[in-house]
């Protein structure tokens, strides 16, 4: 069973739909036992970092997520909440990845919205995926490059499109909305 963490963020249903299309069973839940017993856990999300983090803290889901030992995938806001700190709402995050999240300087259109490619791809998540492929991004804040970076995207400046540390994986783009390439990446995660 795949647990998709239920919290005050949008886009959760899309992730479940994508997993269902790949033939896996999943549950949207904020139940501790269900999360601890799941084979994989996904922290999805579109929303605002400050209020999302506040919600996770109130429900003590932040501590639970950090303590998980099975593969965990953070998507978009989920990735940002797994970082050290976000400029959005001046928010202290879960500090899984040793990096900060900053607002894009407004020298080009913000949000970074649409299909973009990525490069310097590393690790199991990007098996069968190449730098020629495009994935779908929607975000105004970006995670800085760090030792956890497993994929780089360049928009306004280079930032982490993918990250990994121990059992924690994350993508700044939305694999659930990224056509066949996204399906491959989700499949790679589900097959870990």
């Amino acid at each position: 069973m795949i647990a998709i963490i239920k919290y005050n963020a949008g886009n959760i249903r899309s992730v479940q739909n994508a997993i269902t299309r790949l033939g896996y069973e999943s549950v949207i839940t904020d139940d501790r036992e269900e999360m601890l017993n799941a084979e994989k856990v996904i922290l999805p999300g579109v929303g605002e970092a400050g209020s999302a983090m506040k919600y996770l803290r109130e429900k003590e889901l932040d501590k639970l997520i950090v303590s998980l030992t099975q593969p965990v995938l953070g998507i978009c806001l989920g990735l940002q909440l797994m970082c050290r700190y976000s400029e959005e709402g001046d928010t202290q995050c879960m500090k899984i990845f040793d990096t900060d999240v900053r607002l894009f300087p407004r020298v080009d259109k913000v949000p970074h919205m649409g299909w973009n490619n990525f490069f310097s791809l590393k690790g199991e998540l990007f098996k069968g995926v190449s730098a020629r492929d495009n994935v779908y991004y929607v975000h105004s804040y970006y995670p800085e490059i760090s030792s956890c970076t497993t994929a780089v995207c360049d928009y306004i400046l280079p930032f982490s499109a993918g990250m990994k540390k121990d059992n924690f994986y994350a993508t700044q783009f939305h694999p659930e909305k990224s056509a066949l390439v996204g399906e491959q990446i989700l499949k790679n995660f589900l097959e870990l």
Binding site: A18, K109, H112, N116, N117, V138
Partner: protein, 251 residues
């Protein structure tokens, strides 16, 4: 590099596509989900569904359609038509829409943009602006282009960005349906004045029109309906053509 997006628009009436054409391999041309899947497989970057009836009685039909689309489509999609309240938006997003688009309702009550952005985030708010030339000036028109309002298009575009819109869908009513190409003038002007993505719409008749709008303006995407719907332009061929013309597109 960020790619220019190609967006087919599907008009929906009572949960069915308007004027469906029987493409090869399409079981039911009137089923929006079938058509959407076909477009997605040909390389559409996003989809827009406009409910042109948008009556209260049809809301339920639209919501179940959105749920079916979300279950089957693996690219982002926007839903519009008759959205007047935060509640309408909530239902559509919960059903699985990635973005919603509002038009006349935003002109009537601009705070609606801020309310939706505050509750669900700017990324899901596409403000549709219909524009036409009246007395040598580009102004906003509502009610499907029938009614001009005392609002210059540029001023309104700048204002919707400030209010929290994440994207602008700009339709030139002067060009819509002519198949003579997008309005390069107002598309360039609006794209230059705002810092959010602009989708050009109205007037697409052939592949070259897409090249022209991407080459001459900084719009992020181009939308069309009938030329895709009637099979006059195939999305895959269009994107290959644009790629060969040095436009950044996703192949």
């Amino acid at each position: 590099m960020l790619k220019r997006r190609i967006i087919p628009c599907l008009d929906i009436r009572n949960g069915r596509t308007v004027k469906g054409v029987n493409f090869v391999g399409l079981k039911d041309a009137g089923d929006p989900v079938e058509l959407a899947k076909l477009y997605a497989s040909r390389g559409a970057d996003e989809l827009v569904f406009l409910d042109i009836t948008a009556t209260i009685e049809n809301r339920h039909t639209l919501i179940s359609l959105v749920e079916r689309i979300a279950a089957e489509i693996n690219i982002p999609f926007t839903v519009g038509g008759g959205i007047n309240s935060l509640e309408d938006v909530g239902h559509l997003l919960k059903a699985g829409a990635d973005k919603i688009t509002i038009n006349s309702a935003a002109v009537r009550r601009p705070e609606l943009i801020t309310e939706i952005a505050g509750e669900f985030g700017s990324q899901c708010v596409v403000v549709a602006i219909d524009t036409d030339v009246i007395n040598n000036d580009w102004v906003v028109v509502v009610d499907g282009g029938r009614t001009p309002v005392k609002l210059r298009t540029i001023d309104w575009a700048i204002k919707v960005e400030k209010l929290g819109a994440g994207e602008i869908l700009l339709t030139s009513m002067k060009h819509d349906g002519t198949k003579k190409g997008f309005s390069l003038e107002i598309t360039a002007e609006v794209s230059r004045h705002v810092n959010i993505p602009v989708i050009a719409s109205g007037g697409a008749g052939k592949k070259e029109h897409f090249r022209d709008v991407f080459f001459n303006t900084s719009c992020s995407a181009a939308l069309a309906a009938s030329i895709f719907h009637f099979g006059e332009v195939d999305i895959k061929e269009l994107k290959e053509y644009l790629f060969n013309e040095q436009t950044a597109v996703r192949l």
